[in-house]
C-alpha cells in the first residue's frame, strides 16, 4: 500500500494507459501546457508530447464529438472537461452520438472513450459551476457512468473505464481532488457496476457515492457514539447499478438511507429508491430515507450553499425521526 491523493491516482491511471496503449490520447482545455484546471494532467504533455496530450479550444460540443469520432475509428480518447457543468455545451454529442451510435447502427460502431469531469458543489462557484450532471448522464442507455470517492477506487475504475469499449462518464468530485487514501501497490482493476461495502454493519445501510461518502463518514461517527452499527455502501457506479450488493446489505440491516449531493428532485437516488422498493420491499423495516441537495440553483453565499448541501446533521435528524424512533 502507498498513500496517494485523488489527483495523483487519476493521473497514474492516465499515465499507465498512455504507456500501455498507443491508441490512448487525451484531449481537453488547458490540459497540456497549463497542466489542467485541477492539475490532474500536469506534466503529461512533457512526457507524451502534443500528439497524445491535445489542448483544445473552448469548444466542448466539438471536441467531445471529435472524441466520439476518434473512438469510432479505433482510438481510445480520454476527454477532459473543466467541469461537468460544461457537459451541457456538448450534451447532444454525448447523448445522441456517444449514447446512440452503437444501437442505431445495429452494433456496428463502438465508442471506446472516457469523458472525465470534475463534479459537484461546495466551493461557492455559484449556480452555473456547481452542478452534478452525472445523475442526468447516468440515465442514458449506451453510456456507463462512474464516480469514485477515494484514490483507490479512482485508479481502479479509471483503468477499467479506459479499457472498456463503451463510452464512460468518469465524474470526479471536485471537493476530493486533494483527499488522501491508501492505494495497493499491485495492479488491480475495479469492474464497472460494482458497489463497495466500505464498512460492514448490522443496524442500518447508508449509501451514497462520490462526495456523499464524506458525509456518511460524519454520520457514521455520530451513530457509533450511540452504538448504532451502520453498513456503509459506496455505489461507485451509477450506471450500471450494483443491485446485488445493495440487496445483500438490505437483507442484513433492513433499513436504508440514500444520500445524494446533487439535487434530490430527479437525482440518481430517486431512481435507486424506487427500484429498491420494487425489488426488495419485503426486506425493508421502514421507509427508505432519501436526502439530497435542495431543489434550488446553487447559491454563491456560503451559508446558503451549506443550507442547500446535505449535511450529516440533516441525515442524523432524519434517521432518528423516521427510522430509529
Amino acid at each position: 500500500m502507498s498513500e496517494m491523493i485523488m489527483r495523483e491516482a487519476i493521473k497514474k491511471a492516465l499515465e499507465e494507459s498512455l504507456e500501455n496503449d498507443p491508441n490512448v490520447l487525451i484531449m481537453g482545455e488547458d490540459i497540456g501546457e497549463y497542466g489542467g484546471a485541477y492539475a490532474v494532467t500536469d506534466g503529461l504533455l512533457k512526457k507524451f508530447g502534443s500528439n497524445r496530450i491535445k489542448d483544445t479550444p473552448i469548444s466542448e460540443a466539438t471536441f467531445i464529438g471529435a472524441g466520439i469520432g476518434a473512438a469510432a475509428a479505433g482510438l481510445r480518447p480520454v476527454v477532459e472537461l473543466m467541469s461537468i457543468s460544461f457537459s451541457l455545451v456538448g450534451f447532444d454529442q454525448i447523448v445522441n452520438m456517444a449514447g446512440n451510435l452503437r444501437y442505431m447502427s445495429g452494433g456496428q460502431i463502438s465508442v471506446p472513450m472516457v469523458i472525465r469531469a470534475p463534479t459537484g458543489a461546495g466551493v461557492q462557484l455559484g449556480a452555473t459551476h456547481s452542478q452534478s450532471f452525472e445523475t442526468w448522464l447516468a440515465e442514458v442507455p449506451g453510456i456507463y457512468c462512474v464516480c469514485p470517492s477515494n484514490p483507490k477506487d479512482a485508479l481502479g475504475l479509471l483503468r477499467t473505464s479506459i479499457k472498456n469499449n463503451n463510452p464512460v462518464i468518469f465524474a470526479e468530485p471536485a471537493l476530493l481532488y486533494g483527499s488522501k487514501g491508501e492505494v495497493p501497490e499491485d495492479y488491480y482493476e475495479i469492474p464497472l457496476g460494482s458497489a463497495n461495502i466500505v464498512k460492514e454493519g448490522n443496524d442500518i445501510t447508508i449509501m451514497s457515492y462520490g462526495a456523499g461518502m464524506s458525509i456518511i463518514e460524519e454520520v457514521n461517527q455520530k451513530l457509533e457514539e450511540s452504538n448504532i452499527s451502520a453498513e456503509i455502501l459506496d455505489l461507485r457506479s451509477l450506471n450500471p447499478i450494483d443491485y446485488k450488493t445493495i440487496e445483500e446489505s438490505i437483507k442484513k440491516t433492513n433499513k436504508l438511507v440514500a444520500i445524494d449531493t446533487s439535487r434530490k428532485n430527479g437525482g440518481i437516488m430517486a431512481e435507486l429508491v424506487s427500484t429498491i422498493q420494487e425489488k426488495f420491499l419485503d426486506w425493508l423495516d421502514g421507509p427508505i430515507i432519501r436526502i439530497g441537495a435542495e431543489d434550488v440553483p446553487w447559491p454563491y453565499n456560503k451559508d446558503l450553499e451549506n443550507a442547500a448541501y446535505p449535511s450529516s446533521n440533516k441525515v442524523i435528524e432524519k434517521i432518528y425521526k423516521q427510522l430509529l424512533n
Binding site: 497542466g35 469548444s59 460544461f86 451541457l88 466551493v123 455559484g126 449556480a127 440553483p297 453565499n301 456560503k302
Partner: protein
Amino acid sequence: MATLKEEKNKKNIKNQKSSLEKTEMLDLYRQMFLIRQFELACAENYTKGNVRGFLHLYIGQEATAVGSISCLNNKDYIVTHYRDHGHALARGLDVNRTMAELFGKKTGLSKGKGGSMHLFDSARKFMGGHAIVGAQFPLAAGLALACQYKETGGIVVCFFGDGSTNQGTYHETLNLASIWKLPILFILENNKYGMGSSIDKVRAGGEDFYTGVSTYDIPASQVNGMDVLAVKEATKLAVDKIRKEGGPSYLECKTFRFVGHSLADGQKYRKSEEVKFWERQDPIEKFPKWLISAGIINQKELDEINQKVKEEIQNSVDFATSSENPEKSELNEDIYEMQD
C-alpha cells in the same frame, strides 16, 4: 508599421481629445482608477477569505470597459462574461452593492446568490455576468431582438473574450445578428489568452479577429484597447452607425490582463517580459500622465480624485463587511416568479 486604419484611428483620437470636455476626461480616468482599486480590494479580500469561489480580475483591461460603456445610454443593454467587475462599475452599478455581492452578502446586487462571475443589475440593463464561456452571445441576440421589435432605440453591447470565439454560439450569433439586422455591438476583449491558451494555439486565422467577421457581413474594426480615448471614439462610431442604420457591428479591442486568469493561476504559460511589455501601456499610468502633460489637469486634482476613489472603495469594503448574510429563507426565493 502602423496600418492605414491605425493612422486614421490616431487622427480621430486627436480630434476626440480636443473635443472632449475636461470633466468627461476626468470621469474616464476616475472610472478606470475606481475599477483598478476595486480589483485590488477584491484580491486582498480573496486572500482574507471574504471573497470566495472563482475570482477573475479585470486589471489591465480597464480602458476597454470604460471607453466603450461611456458611449451608451440608459436604453442600451450590456451582457458580458465572468470577468465582469469592470463592465459593471463602468455601467454605474453601485460600488457598495457590487462589493457586497462578492462578499456574498444580503445587500449585494443579487442578495449574495450570484457571486463574482454572475453580476446583474436589470435596472441598469446590465444583464449579467455569464460564467459558461459563450453563453452570453444568444442572450445578446434576444435582447437586441426585443429592442428592434419594440423600437426602443436601444442597442446591446456584448462583451466577450478571445477564447469564447471558439464556441459555436459565437458564430451562430454573428450569423443571426447579421441576417436579422440586430442592433448589437460585439466588443471583443482580445487579451491574447483564454486561461492558459494563447490565441496562436487555439485559433485559426491569425491574431486579428475582426478580419474574420466579414464572413458574416458585419462591419468590424480594431482599436488599441489600452487607450481609453481611442476605445471611446471607435465605440462611438460603431454605436452611431448601429443607431442610424440598424444591424450589428464588431469592435476588437487589443488588450491584456496583467494578472492571472483567476487567483488560482500561476501563469506558467507566459513570460514575465510579455506581461511587463503590456504593463508599460497601463492606462491607469499613461492616461493621467497625458492629462497632466496636455495641461488638462494638475497633480493636485489627480491626487484628489485618487483619494476620493480610495475612500469610496474602502467604504464599499466596510459596507460589505458590516452587511448581513442573507437569511436561510432566501434559499428558496427567486426560483420562480409568483403569479396569481
